[in-house]
């Protein structure tokens, strides 16, 4: 009997002990040091455009931009975004950016890699389809525009509070823009219609000289509702060793932003604007003769272009009605002036109105009407103004 009792006791002890070993007291959950996130955005829609008697109506999309964010500890971040879309019937994959950042101190971050450049604010802050209140970029701001989207290089950025104001800064060095001379490296005609334009994809520095730039933004009010910014970017743009080796360019931008929930109008008022100016040193380009027996012709022009937009929107966020709250109305005016005498000379203006509905904070339906008039440029007969009306129904979504 004693034996049985002792054996039972030992058994119970062993079992309890081993049980206790298997289930230690639960510890509070601590997230791991490294975090990885996939976010991004997409959009699809219907575009309808009418130029004179010519009508173009097509479903577009889907553009799909996955964004990868990797965080290690409190100071190290890597971000990269790809852009999948169809271009001329083929899948096009864009490599929008890929860069690493390290927080040096409370007010300063260093970044390196391919990054969106803070030249003004449109590209860095407003171009994603779920942020942009319209179906497209303002004139001169999209692909083939006069302002850089991204650059490969190194940047210091941050913010400094000064009393109740805040100053945002960024300075960077990149491979710099590249001058399109209309010819390839062997001197054959390549894109003669684009001679004098700047290209901003400079993956391997074409001239060893770096492009330098920066932006200074000021938030003068304590409530951060207003921001005024000035940007500059420039450097040598011609190919090393070519006759364009000494050609340089200087770009300037000023931007403005006002965003505030104004109780007098029971909603958010959002006003944004940016003006870009591009000055490229004057150079001589060659125009291929129409008839191969005729000599090609050299020409030059004052290479200065500008593009700007101003937009205002209103969303009745304080409306009593839940559906009303999610509507937004927006207006945008934009203009693009390419240099006189260039093959790509043009003056265009555009206005757009939009009615948007937010399904959630980053999913929205955008219905917009856009009216564009263009003088000069590809496919526009000399001296004529071409008027295009467009209706866009887009569904944009951030995830």
């Amino acid at each position: 009997m004693k034996k049985i009792l002792i054996t039972t006791l030992v058994l119970v002890l062993v079992i309890t002990y081993s049980y206790a070993q298997d289930t230690p007291a639960p510890e509070p959950f601590t997230p791991s040091k490294t975090q990885f996130m996939v976010r991004g955005y997409a959009h699809a829609g219907l575009n309808y455009k009418k130029t004179g008697d010519e009508v173009e109506s097509t479903f577009v999309g889907t553009t799909f931009n996955p964004l990868f964010i990797f965080k290690h500890g409190d100071r190290l971040l890597f971000e990269s975004e790809l852009a999948f879309s169809f271009e001329d019937g083929q899948l096009d994959i864009g490599f929008e950016y890929a860069n690493m950042s390290y927080l040096i101190n409370d007010y300063m971050t260093i970044r390196m890699g391919k990054m969106l450049l803070p030249f003004g604010t449109f590209i860095e802050r407003l171009h994603p389809s779920w942020v942009n209140k319209f179906a497209n970029a303002p004139l001169g701001f999209g692909h083939g525009g006069i302002a850089p989207a991204s650059g490969i290089g190194v940047e210091m950025r941050g913010a400094i509070p000064v009393g109740s104001m805040k100053i945002l800064y960024s300075v960077y060095a990149t491979n710099g823009p590249v001058l399109n001379t209309g010819m390839d490296a062997e001197g054959n005609f390549d894109e003669p219609d684009e001679a004098g334009q700047l290209m901003f994809n400079n993956f391997e520095d074409n001239n060893n000289k770096k492009g330098y730039g920066g932006r200074l933004g000021i938030l003068p009010f304590a409530n951060s509702s207003v921001e005024i910014g000035g940007s500059i970017y420039g450097g040598a743009v011609g190919d090393r060793g070519s006759s364009y080796g000494n050609i340089g360019a200087m770009l300037y931008a000023v931007d403005f932003s006002f965003v505030r929930q104004v109780s007098a109008v029971r909603g958010i008022v959002d006003v944004k604007a940016q003006y870009n100016l591009s000055n490229v040193d004057q150079a001589t380009y060659i125009e291929p003769a129409d008839d191969p027996l005729d000599p090609d012709e050299a020409y030059t022009f004052e290479n200065s272009s500008n593009a700007y937009f101003a937009q205002a929107s209103y969303r009745p966020t304080m409306a009593g009605n839940d559906v009303m709250k999610n509507f937004e109305v927006a207006y945008r005016y934009s203009a693009f002036n390419a240099p006189e005498g260039a093959e790509w000379e043009q003056q265009s203006t555009q206005w757009s109105v939009a009615l948007n509905y937010y399904m959630n904070w980053r999913t929205l339906f955008k219905l917009s009407y856009q009216s564009t008039s263009q003088v000069g440029g590809h496919g526009v007969p000399e001296g004529e103004t071409v008027q295009t009306d467009g209706i866009f129904v887009h569904w944009a979504l951030g995830f």
């Binding site: 997230p31 975090q35 996130m37 964010i69 965080k71 409190d74 971040l77 971000e79 950042s101 927080l103 101190n105 409370d106 007010y107 971050t109 970044r111 860095e124 802050r125 407003l126 779920w130 942020v131 950025r157 941050g158 913010a159 400094i160 509070p161 009393g163 109740s164 104001m165 805040k166 945002l168 800064y169 960024s170 200074l216 933004g217 000021i218 938030l219 003068p220 009010f221 304590a222 409530n223 951060s224 509702s225 207003v226 005024i228 910014g229 000035g230 940007s231 500059i232 200087m250 300037y252 931008a253 000023v254 932003s257 965003v259 929930q261 958010i268 000055n279 937010y358 904070w361 980053r362």
Partner: protein
């Protein structure tokens, strides 16, 4: 000529900003709550996400991402992230 333009681009916003700021009642970042900083900052570029949009860990990552993208200071970011984590 170019240098003058360059100066102009930088100094004009600075001057306008300073004039506007000097005529405005002030309260410093240190005196503001995370909720207030969230309300003022996260609406400047896109619609404001509500705290419930993400979990605590995601807010840490997003906080760092936005700190860099939106040029926020450490204090602003920490206060905003703490608020979002406490209210989600």
């Amino acid at each position: 000529m170019k240098n003058i333009k360059t100066l102009f681009v930088f100094l004009l916003p600075l001057a306008v900003g300073l004039i506007l700021a000097s005529s405005c009642a002030s309260s410093k970042i240190t005196m503001k709550s995370g909720a207030q900083l969230w309300g003022e900052n996260c609406v400047r570029c896109h619609a404001t996400p509500s705290p419930s949009a993400y979990n605590d860990i995601d807010w840490e990552t997003i906080g760092l991402h936005m700190r860099i993208r939106a040029n926020l200071t450490a204090e602003e970011t920490n206060k905003i992230v703490e608020f979002l984590q406490s209210a989600n």
